[in-house]
């Protein structure tokens, strides 16, 4: 068992910002459901903040004026509203992917869904999903119907739910999200494979036309431990040029 497999041990490295991006995202997912880890993180943060508070350097006087000027025209983010689970689930648009994976699991493989409740709801949709998966087209169905197809879900920074379906056996993965915001015509969504050391490889582009976006990721899947998504100039980039909208850990 490697260190990466017990997220309870990650709180210190997380607070030191010493987890590679994929593991950091995985730990944050875990954190949401682990009160012990949240307590550890809070305690470690207090300690780390004391290291920071001991630092001291003169700040150029004009920086204050510059910051206050920028602040005067920077809108504040609104507090994220509490999202009742059931409601966000019904809107999540992940039924196809979730249910398809449940359908696959029913035959052979394992299913990794973050919330049991989602799995339950998905189960009721399994028959429909099996039908949809059959008609969804070759490459996508090839992932969905793999015996080891596993779905990993995550939430993008704007609240959009997304899923990555992975078949290690078939060395292939697909990304799906519904209600991705529409992008201006000179922008696209770009998907990335994240390696264990935090290295990123392009995994394909999505038109920013809004609505449901699904695609099979470019090969090779390799040893990717997460899939990320950013907004890039049309044509895509070799390395991300913007902050990721989200990173979905996909095991390893």
């Amino acid at each position: 068992m490697t260190a990466r497999e017990d997220p309870h041990l990650d709180a210190a490295a997380y607070v030191l910002h010493a987890l590679p991006p994929a593991e950091e995202a995985a730990f944050e997912n875990h954190l949401a459901g682990c009160a012990t880890c949240r307590r550890d993180v809070t305690a470690h943060e207090r300690t780390a903040a004391r290291l920071a508070a001991a630092e001291d350097a003169p700040v150029p006087g004009e920086l204050r004026a510059r910051v206050l000027e920028r602040v005067s025209r920077t809108p504040q983010e609104h507090r994220p509203p509490a999202r009742p689970r059931g409601r966000s689930l019904r809107r999540s648009g992940l039924r196809l992917a979730l249910a398809a994976s449940v359908a696959a699991a029913a035959v052979l493989g394992a299913v990794a869904v973050r919330e049991h409740q989602e799995a339950e709801e998905a189960r009721s949709q399994a028959a429909q999903a099996r039908e949809e998966a059959r008609t969804a087209g070759g490459a996508f169905a090839y992932v969905l119907t793999a015996p080891d197809a596993t779905v990993y879900t995550g939430e993008l920074s704007d609240g959009t739910r997304a899923a990555v379906v992975v078949s290690r056996e078939r060395a292939t993965a697909a990304f799906t999200a519904r209600d991705l915001p529409t992008l201006p015509s000179d922008k696209v969504y770009e998907l990335w494979y994240a390696g264990k050391a935090g290295d990123l490889r392009p995994a394909g582009l999505l038109e920013g036309t809004g609505g449901r976006e699904t695609r099979v990721l470019d090969s090779p899947l390799g040893d990717a431990v997460a899939v990320g998504i950013t907004v890039e100039p049309s044509g895509g980039s070799a390395q991300p040029t913007t902050e990721p909208l989200g990173v979905i850990p996909i095991g390893a």
């Binding site: 260190a3 910002h17 010493a18 920071a52």
Partner: protein, 188 residues
């Protein structure tokens, strides 16, 4: 520019007011925390120009996202300095290939970082305590902590630089922080 010592509770209240759009309260938060934010950014980036950019970005992000501050989960000071550390580490990772950092890393540079911390932190009781507690750690725990916190290395990079298994590095980071906390609490 005023640098009146702000109590934690006072700073918490200021940040909550800033979250409601109070720019005067935000200016007070800036005055209380700009120096440690800049100091931390300088320490990690080793470049005053970049540290200034990071300080600016951090402060604007503090304003923009102040609504996320939860006083029941920690102090405003910890919240801002955690954000500052995050941004400084992101920056150092984007400007240096990880290889370079690994080459520069290792035990020697961790010790040098530690000595530099010692130099600048000796001028107040709080700072003396931080130094004392870092020094009191076993070196095996101190070095991974210093490489991660002050150089922005991931535990994977630290493990590689020190030829130590990844799990061991993580657990030393954890023990290091635990002991640091015990030492700091004993002295305050």
């Amino acid at each position: 520019m005023p640098h009146a010592p702000e109590t934690n509770a006072h700073l918490d209240a200021l940040l909550l007011r800033a979250a409601d759009g109070d720019r005067k309260a935000f200016a007070d938060v800036y005055d209380a925390l700009a120096r440690p934010v800049m100091g931390l950014a300088c320490r990690i980036l080793r470049d005053a120009g970049q540290a200034e950019e990071v300080t600016q970005d951090v402060m604007i992000e503090v304003w923009r996202t102040a609504g996320r501050f939860r006083p029941d989960l920690g102090t405003a000071k910890a919240w801002v300095l955690t954000l500052a550390h995050r941004r400084a580490v992101d920056r150092v990772r984007s400007v240096q290939a990880s290889r370079d950092r690994e080459v520069r890393a290792g035990m020697l540079s961790a010790d040098r970082d530690f000595d530099q911390v010692a130099e600048t932190v000796e001028n107040s009781d709080e700072r003396r305590r931080v130094h004392h507690c870092l020094k009191a750690l076993e070196r095996l725990q101190r070095v991974p902590l210093v490489l991660a916190y002050y150089q922005g290395m991931t535990y994977v990079e630290v493990a590689h630089a020190l030829s130590t298994p990844e799990g061991t590095v993580k657990s030393r980071m954890r023990k290091g922080l635990d002991r640091l906390r015990a030492c700091m609490e004993a002295g305050s």
